[in-house]
């Protein structure tokens, strides 16, 4: 069946360090992947996306890597800040579907 999951439920990092959040997906037909950040009491906030014809995409302090061979997605956050503390979700979508399939999320805690 379809699933998007995360390897680590909680990640604790020191302020200023780099963070890496991982995600595995099982639907080989998925061709669009998104990372969302969700702070307590708020809706998911778009961070960055990547399509299956790319391996890497960079934004401001964030980089998403896609490895289609092993169906793995990662989000790298450079120089992690206290404001980065939140739950991060990866989501996937296939061209034949309109829905996003979310994983269960990884909580990122930034230590001062």
């Amino acid at each position: 069946g379809e699933s998007v999951g995360l390897h680590l439920p909680t990640l604790s990092v020191q302020e200023g360090d780099n963070s890496i959040i991982n995600c595995a997906y099982s639907n080989s037909a998925s061709d669009y992947f998104i990372w969302y950040k969700q702070e307590s009491g708020k809706g998911p906030q778009f961070i960055i996306d990547i399509r299956s014809n790319m391996d890497k995409r960079q934004g401001q302090r964030v980089t998403v890597l896609l490895n289609k061979t092993v169906k793995h997605l990662s989000l790298q956050i450079a120089a992690t800040q206290p404001g980065d503390s939140a739950v991060y979700f990866c989501a996937e979508n296939s061209g034949s579907s309109y829905k996003l399939i979310f994983g269960s999320g990884t909580r990122l805690l930034v230590r001062p």
Binding site: V4, Y32, I34, Y36, G41, K42, G43, P44, Q45, F46, D49, F89, A91, G95, S97, Y98, K99, L100, I101, F102, G103, S104, G105
Partner: protein, 111 residues
């Protein structure tokens, strides 16, 4: 701010009651999706509306229904509420196949 708005922010209902949640999409967006997010879990797709029609539906019972208006805003209706319907209900809007942007959600508590 993504520009998607939802109302109300919080809602408390009792079992068996009916509830209506509302969503206004971001300016320029014509497609609205609804998701249910249980505590500690990722959002689960309920359905998507486009051109005032339900275009795709997730694995939710018929108690969950929706509507989209000509101005692209949308409503989610849930009948015969169960305790398990307690969740954060999220609305997301998009245009075409672009990224879905989420609203702040409505927290529904069923007692």
């Amino acid at each position: 701010d993504a520009g998607v708005t939802q109302s109300p922010t919080h809602l408390i209902k009792t079992r068996g009651q009916q509830v209506t949640l509302r969503c206004s999409p971001k300016s320029g967006h014509d497609t609205v999706s609804w998701y249910q997010q249980a505590l500690g879990q990722g959002p689960q797709f309920i359905f998507q509306y486009y051109e005032e029609e339900e275009r795709q539906r997730g694995n939710f019972p018929d108690r969950f229904s929706g509507h989209q208006f000509p101005n692209y805003s949308s409503e989610l209706n849930v009948n015969a509420l169960l305790l398990g319907d307690s969740a954060l209900y999220l609305c997301a809007s998009t245009a075409g196949t672009d990224t879905q942007y989420f609203g702040p959600g409505t927290r529904l508590t069923v007692l």
